[in-house]
């Protein structure tokens, strides 16, 4: 087969994407394994133009792996999407450094730690919002109870880095302190909107993460 135009560029791009992927995620040993896989894939795709050096002799047989070249590109794209999405959460003020702290606690024994903690928050917070709404509607007003409920919501929101939720809870608490029921009502509506937005964003984020997680687990299992 003659050398096809653009093939060396494609090979370089595949290597670059693989290296990007590796630089984000992998140790040196994993990098070495990935590069070996990449050269095998290159050999399959472009057998006439691929000339591996002796130092990159590949002992893997093609049947020993099942990662088509397009999946590697998709993974790299997904990873970039996840990074940009998370950055937008911080830039738009939805999350703060506490979220990063939680992600740093993730390890092989708790690979989904952050998602689990966020799931607890998303399970607990609607109940608190409902209780707050119910308490606002009661007469006589019970600002002490309202303060206690929003204190819980503020605390758990703060623990996952939900800074907009936390700030709105502070506004609500200030209205409670002033015994300003109308202020509490308006603040509650904003809290509910912030909560709905945060829920949608985080669910999208973890949905993306789950798409890359099976690959990472498969790669780790080859060690």
């Amino acid at each position: 087969m003659p050398d096809t135009p653009g093939a060396p560029l494609l090979r370089r791009r595949l290597v670059t994407d693989m290296v990007d992927w590796n630089m984000v995620l992998l140790t040196r040993r994993e990098l070495s394994i990935r590069i070996k896989i990449l050269h095998v894939i290159n050999n399959i795709l472009f057998p006439s133009i691929y000339m591996p050096s002796s130092s990159l002799h590949v002992s893997l047989q093609p049947s020993q792996f099942s990662l088509p070249a397009c999946t590697i590109m998709d993974y790299s794209t997904l990873r970039r999407q996840i990074t940009f999405m998370k950055k937008s959460f911080f830039d738009q003020g939805y999350l703060d450094e506490q979220f990063n702290q939680l992600e740093e606690l993730q390890d092989e024994s708790s690979p989904n730690f952050v998602e689990e903690v966020v799931a607890l928050f998303l399970k607990d917070s609607p109940r608190l919002l409902t209780n707050i709404e119910h308490t606002i509607g009661k007469y006589p007003q019970d600002f002490h109870r309202l303060d206690s409920l929003v204190h819980q919501l503020k605390g758990s929101g703060s623990s996952i880095g939900a800074v907009r939720m936390k700030n709105e809870c502070s506004v609500f608490k200030a209205h409670c302190n002033d015994k300003n029921l109308e202020g509490c009502r308006r603040s509650l509506q904003r809290m509910k909107r912030e909560h709905a937005t945060l829920k949608q964003k985080l669910e999208s984020y973890f949905q993306l993460l789950r798409q890359v997680a099976p690959r990472e687990h498969a790669v780790n299992s080859r060690k």
Binding site: Q98, Q101, L102, E104, L105, D107, E108, S109, S110, F113, E116, V117, L120, F121, K123, D124, H151, Q152, K154, G155, S156, S158, S159, I160, G161
Partner: protein, 139 residues
């Protein structure tokens, strides 16, 4: 009640049992999960309960608790009340107690420290806070 092994699932039960055992007390499920995760990452064995009452039940049945870390503001029994009960018990008074709170109230902090609390941490608790604290208290 949540129990988290400090070895990430690996190692024998005997090895896990040799790790310092920290009792975490918080009525918030989110905060229990976070403090348990932080303690686990620092290689501690963690038992998490949701109230002071459950904490005392566990302390009564199992003496092998190296430290208690408790939220201040809990229904029925506050962390301060739990602290007083622990320090008032001849069996439990030697266990270090750390209080956590999301509110920076100087009189509250002073009161807890005077009652014998080892430290007072502001929420959200950082891994560095817990690591520094446990190194000082437990090692």
């Amino acid at each position: 009640m949540m129990s988290c092994k400090g070895l990430g699932g690996e190692g024998s039960a005997a090895a896990a049992a040799a790790l310092p055992h920290v009792l975490a007390v918080d009525d918030s499920s989110v905060d229990r999960a976070v403090i348990s995760g932080i303690l686990r990452s620092s290689k501690f064995r963690v038992t998490a309960v949701d109230s002071g009452k459950r904490a005392l039940e566990l302390l009564g049945s199992e003496a092998n608790v190296s430290m208690i870390i408790t939220d201040y503001w809990m229904p029925e029994m506050t962390g301060y009340e739990l602290l007083k009960k622990v320090k008032g018990s001849s069996k439990l008074k030697g266990i270090p107690v750390v209080i956590m709170s999301s509110e920076n109230v100087p009189t509250r902090i002073t009161r807890c420290l005077e009652e014998g609390a080892e430290d007072f941490l502001l929420k959200p608790v950082q891994p560095s806070d817990v690591s520094r604290l446990c190194n000082r208290v437990l090692r």
